[in-house]
């Protein structure tokens, strides 16, 4: 029974397309995150929501738009995909909004933009 699940696991698409990645957690947590991991394994925070409220919004192109319909779900929509968007995107969740809390990660979505 997966705690943090992301779909799809792999996403291959053409430049200029719009795509979405979905994330769901069944841990009862109130905070969720999106991270981007580049080819050099550098993991960078993109967004965080606490109880559907956006609390972290790092310098990310506005082509990226997160949406949290409820505290168990956090989706990521990307418009006009570019080559540089190719990366692995991880969803994570934690109980509480402060950074000391342990984060639980999904398995990642590998996005390839051709």
């Amino acid at each position: 029974d997966t705690a943090v699940s992301q779909t799809p696991k792999y996403l291959v698409t053409q430049m200029g397309n719009d795509k979405s990645i979905k994330c769901e957690q069944n841990l009862g947590h109130d905070t969720m995150y999106w991270y981007k991991q580049d080819s050099k394994k550098f993991l960078k925070i993109m967004f965080s929501y606490n109880n559907k409220e956006l609390i972290i919004n790092e310098t990310v192109p506005n082509r990226f738009s997160p949406k949290s319909p409820d505290k168990a779900h956090l989706n990521l929509h990307i418009n006009s995909l570019e080559l540089g968007d190719s990366a692995v995107y991880f969803c994570a969740s934690s109980q509480g909004r402060i950074a000391k809390n342990i984060q639980y990660f999904g398995a990642g979505t590998r996005l390839s933009v051709l």
């Binding site: 993991l43 925070i45 991880f90 402060i98 000391k100 342990i102 990660f105 398995a107």
Partner: protein, 113 residues
């Protein structure tokens, strides 16, 4: 700029040996966490050490923290092939409203059977 930096970037050892990875950071922190990432998987939390702690153990893992040097180390004793993974340190910067973890680039550990 990056908060946490691990070294070495890559480490290869024989099964049964100990593995030591280091993490340095730039600003004062509340806590430091270590995570493991197996190939093609998400990160898994290993251990958290608070800024007022100097050493912490969990099974074969030993973490130290030296706030004066702004550094931490992760020691895995009696390594196993299953320990092969990338290891990341993550810090949360002290101060009010610290909501995010900043991850380093990781150390890729290979344990040869």
């Amino acid at each position: 700029s990056q908060q946490g930096e691990e070294d070495p970037q890559a480490l290869s050892i024989q099964e049964g040996e100990n593995a030591t990875m280091n993490c340095s950071y730039k600003t004062s922190i509340n806590n430091l966490q270590w995570y493991r990432q197996n190939s093609g998987r998400g990160l898994v939390h290993l251990i958290l050490i608070r800024s007022n702690e100097r050493e912490k153990h969990s099974g074969r893992l030993r973490v130290t923290l030296d706030t004066s040097k702004k550094s931490s180390s992760l020691l895995i004793t009696a390594s196993r092939a299953a320990d092969t993974a990338s290891y990341f340190c993550a810090t949360d910067i002290s101060g009010a409203g610290s909501y995010q973890l900043t991850f380093g680039k990781g150390t890729k550990l290979s344990v040869i059977p």
